[in-house]
């Protein structure tokens, strides 16, 4: 069973698991994984030994009338000392790298050039603010390759936990506290994450993506995202903007450069450029946007976004407008 475990663990590094803790892609996650694998192999060793001895004992000493009544044995001091000391030594071997790693990962980053990102957990989505860059976005965090990011985690409502397994371990997002988490990614790509502390009805659907960009791509993303929203490109999108501004949408969402200044829901200034909508729930395309607006409570039960009473064509226009916000 231990070997089976190991085989699957190795197979799991293959990359078909976008949220795997066994496939680290940052210094931080790498340290956690290294420590885990160390403990894991100790555990495999103990597992094989204990289960082996157990099975041998059970087969070797099964009832056999020829042997007669077993002699009375009440204990053995040296053996007791042995199976106290040897496990203790193994635990010391685990404890030393553990404590070393604790004092690395449970402390703020020492990197003065770290990019600060403020992460706010909300029922049931994530807000990312870059104070140095003046950018606010939702559910998808872009970061540059090769630079440490320094996350400041806060909650707007209940406790959440920020978890992007391939980049960093969990860190709870607790009201009244500011927690920190840092990591330096070592490859570009899209990394999956999701809330890991039960936070209510839609907890399962509180996903996020971290996009690690090459430095030039990141600069381009920054430039785009600091600017105000794009103007609607065609008549349909213009009509969609009208729908947005005339309905409840404006009271919760902000679209910079327009009259929409709501602060309760995600900033939609560049929503069209995101990969997903609904906090990592659906691919971002016209069809899904329509579905999302039309039947929000079915797509994401419990979400605080109400289903606004719109006609089919209004929804169509709205979706076209939002998709154009790149």
């Amino acid at each position: 069973m231990g070997l089976f475990f190991a085989a699957v663990a190795v197979a799991a590094c293959g990359g078909t698991y976008p949220q795997s803790a066994l496939d680290p892609s940052s210094d931080f996650a790498g340290r956690l994984d290294g420590l885990f694998m160390q403990i894991f192999w100790w555990a495999v060793g103990v597992f094989v030994l204990v289960e082996g001895v157990l099975l041998y004992t059970v087969f070797r000493w099964r009832e056999d009338p020829a042997r007669g009544r077993p002699p009375e044995v009440h204990g053995h001091v040296l053996m007791e000392i042995g199976w106290t000391v040897i496990p203790a030594l193994i635990l010391v071997a685990i404890a030393i790298p553990t404590i070393r790693t604790i004092f690395l990962v449970d402390r703020p980053t020492a990197d003065p050039d770290a990019l600060v990102v403020e992460v706010t957990g909300r029922q049931w989505w994530w807000e990312f603010t870059y104070p140095e860059l003046g950018i606010t976005t939702a559910n998808e965090m872009h970061i540059p390759l090769g630079r440490t990011v320094d996350l400041r985690l806060r909650s707007a409502d209940v406790i959440h936990s920020f978890w992007v397994p391939r980049l960093g371990g969990k860190r709870d997002v607790v009201p009244g506290r500011e927690n920190q988490l840092w990591f330096r990614p070592d490859s570009v790509g899209v990394f999956w994450g999701q809330c890991a502390e039960y936070c209510g009805t839609a907890h399962a659907l509180m996903g996020l993506r971290v996009l690690v960009d090459a430095p030039a791509d990141f600069e381009a993303w920054v430039t785009t995202n600091r600017s105000n929203a794009a103007r609607p490109a065609d008549s349909e999108a213009r009509a969609g903007q009208g729908v947005f501004m005339a309905n409840a949408c404006v009271s919760c969402h902000e679209i910079r450069g327009t009259g929409a200044r709501g602060q309760l829901g995600p900033d939609l200034t560049h929503v069209g450029s995101r990969l997903t909508i609904g906090a990592g729930l659906l691919d971002n395309n016209l069809e899904n946007l329509i579905r999302w607006i039309d039947s929000t409570q079915v797509v994401k039960p419990g979400t605080l976004m109400p289903e606004v009473d719109l006609t089919e064509s209004q929804i169509q226009q709205l979706a076209a407008y939002l998709l154009g916000l790149r």
């Binding site: 004992t57 059970v58 009440h74 007791e80 969990k170 607790v174 399962a204």
Partner: protein, 625 residues
């Protein structure tokens, strides 16, 4: 009251003549016999276990495939909350207390527990709090904040329904019964041991019952305080956990886990106790390293209070806190390992008889070891940052709680069933039950180690198809269905024993401890004469020393009698049946229901409880002489 036979306890003698399982409803409502209360606990715990098991079935069905929408998310959240809460408080603990009730007085040579009416009171509170909790399904929905009920999710703002009120009130009510039970068994074991039954001669199961009683006494008060704070926050608008008012919601986590972790040992130490009695009997060898096994149990119980933060490594409490609690948690592995090695050493060189009780005991060794090893993995705080709140942890604690508690309790069930009923179970059905359970358990919980490490968080009603976790979840769901099927041979076996079970006799297993000297099922008064104990395994040494015999004999015989005499040589005083514990429990339960928002009901309930208390206080406790 007449003489001779009837002297066996006034009205209690009548109860005895009816037999342990006969008698009308009234006799069950007013019973203070520890054995009958044990049976009540057992049946109640088993029913709640089946209900919580069905909840788990529904959960696994929902998770069989990715992005399924069979169950409404809100209902799903209620199901996992109720599954955990029920398994811990209304299945695990009652089943354990059932064994304490039935077995501990027999193992120490006592005729009942120290406070028989308090014992009945504890049971009624358990039953009523469980029914109260489940009634929430009919009043706007069950609790849905998780069994751990973290604030602020569970405060009035984020959980406006009544579900969490049911949770808080039900656990406060059952907590009263648990604390009373802890007092009862502590006093019983300390004060009511037979002559010569020194602490270091106690059977291991009783030893663990003693430790668990202490754990209950020390761990439930902080939880109670936490629940009272939560009740005040929800009902009266106080701010014990309100970050906006300057308080810290993490306070609840500390109060919960400083209870919650010892609770794990409350659930698992009794199973260790069972195994420590079962393995020697079916190996025909005394327990290897008895004092070491006892002291490692004490050490586990002690360390249990110093490790609660390992449930909170991701909270961000800082490197020093995490290092200290990580280290303390790893220490638990040492006494646990010692127990496992001593059990194996007990079997070494023995004559192993693979009766169902022994199979479950060996199963515990094998399965619990896996849970222990994964436990060491998340004892390391950095590794736990990836594992906490994922299915890896779900796998871990099911290996511990099924591999430990459930296997241990099944071992105890097959071991003591003949004692409790006087009937033998069918061995083949018992073995089928064991193998099915073993296979199903591993099929259900082994795959989710992987799905957790590969990114599946706990308490999620679904998972994205893109995560690649389909296969693990599907296997787990199949395993869960097999697990339900595994209960069929158990139920069948009960039916079999009832209809066709062979008479057991006092000691069908050639076991060494004194509960096996009395008849099966034992008479109302357990022992016609109290045995005198001069060693740990008196029944294996019936003629070792002169002077050994029944306590109170004018001239002790030279032989330790293997079987109790039919007649009591002197009158036995037994407690009277009483309905006052039931009255008082009903009163407290009414007051609890009133806690949902009806002051008149609270007053009525308190008045009834006071009436019960007075009736109880002024009732003659003991009949006969």
């Amino acid at each position: 009251m007449a003489t001779s036979e009837a002297d066996v306890g006034g009205r209690a003698a009548g109860e005895h003549k009816q037999g342990l399982y006969s008698g009308g409803l009234w006799s069950w409502l007013t019973t203070v016999d520890h054995k009958r209360i044990g049976v009540l606990y057992f049946v109640t715990g088993l029913v709640f276990m089946l209900v919580a098991g069905l909840e788990a079935q529904a959960i696994r069905l929902q998770l069989a495939r990715p992005e399924q929408r069979l169950l409404d998310p809100e209902f799903y959240n209620q199901l996992f909350t109720m599954h955990g809460t029920t398994m811990v408080f209304f299945a695990g603990m009652p089943l354990i207390i059932a064994f304490f009730n039935f077995i501990v007085p027999l193992q120490i040579g006592a005729r009942d527990v120290a406070f028989p009416r308090l014992n009945a009171f504890s049971y009624w509170l358990l039953l009523f709090s469980g029914l109260f909790l489940y009634s929430s399904f009919f009043f706007g929905g069950a609790p849905d904040g998780g069994w751990f009920a973290y604030t602020p999710l569970t405060n009035r703002q984020y959980s406006p329904g009544m579900g969490m009120d049911f949770y808080v009130l039900a656990l406060l009510l059952s907590g009263i019964g648990s604390i009373a039970g802890g007092v009862n068994f502590l006093v019983t074991i300390v004060n009511m041991r037979a002559p010569g039954m020194k602490f270091m001669r106690l059977p291991l199961f009783t030893w663990m019952a003693l430790l668990v009683s202490i754990l209950i006494l020390l761990s439930f008060p902080p939880f109670t305080i936490g629940l009272v704070f939560m009740f005040f926050d929800r009902s009266f608008g106080t701010h014990f956990y309100d970050a906006a008012a300057g308080a810290d919601p993490v306070l609840w986590q500390h109060l919960f886990w400083v209870f919650g972790h010892p609770e794990v040992y409350i659930l698992v130490l009794p199973a260790f106790g069972v195994v420590s009695d079962v393995i020697p009997t079916f190996s025909r060898k005394p327990l290897f390293g008895y004092p070491v096994v006892v002291f490692s149990g004490i050490l586990i119980a002690f360390l249990g209070f110093g490790v609660w933060v390992h449930h909170m490594f991701a909270v961000g409490l800082g490197p020093i806190v995490n290092a200290v609690f990580g280290g303390a948690t790893m220490l638990v592995a040492i006494p646990t390992g010692i127990k496992i090695f001593n059990w194996i050493a007990t079997m070494w060189g023995g004559q192993l008889r693979f009766k169902p009780a022994m199979l479950f005991a060996i199963g515990l060794l094998g399965i619990f070891t896996i849970g222990g090893l994964s436990g060491v993995m998340h004892a390391s705080p950095p590794a736990d940052l990836q594992q906490t709140d994922t299915y890896f942890v779900v796998a871990h604690f099911h290996y511990v709680l099924i591999g430990g508690t459930v296997f241990g309790l099944f071992a105890g069930f097959y071991y003591w069933f003949p004692k409790a009923t006087g009937k033998m179970l069918n061995e083949g059905l018992g073995k089928a039950h064991f193998w099915l359970t073993l296979i199903a358990m591993n099929l259900t919980f082994f795959p989710i180690h992987f799905s957790g490490l590969l990114g599946q968080p706990r308490r999620t009603f679904t998972y994205a198809e893109g995560l690649g976790l389909d296969t693990f979840n599907l296997i787990s769901t199949i395993g869960a269905f097999l697990f339900t099927l595994a209960f069929v041979p158990l139920i069948w076996n009960l039916w079999y024993a009832w209809r066709r079970g062979r008479p057991a006799g006092p000691n069908p297993w050639d076991a060494p401890t004194i509960e096996w000297t009395t008849s099966s099922p034992p008479p109302h008064y357990n022992f016609a004469v109290i045995p005198r104990v001069d060693r740990r395994d008196p029944l294996w040494h019936p003629h070792i020393k002169p002077g050994l015999g029944w306590a109170g004999e004018a001239e002790p015989g030279g032989v330790f009698p293997r079987v109790q005499p039919d007649d009591a040589p002197e009158p036995i005083v037994m407690p009277n049946p009483s309905y006052w514990p039931l009255v008082m429990a009903l009163g407290l339960s009414l007051a609890t229901i009133g806690g949902l928002g009806s002051l008149p009901l609270v007053f009525t309930g308190v008045a009834l409880a006071l009436l019960g208390l007075f009736g109880w206080a002024f009732e003659p406790a003991e009949g006969g002489h």
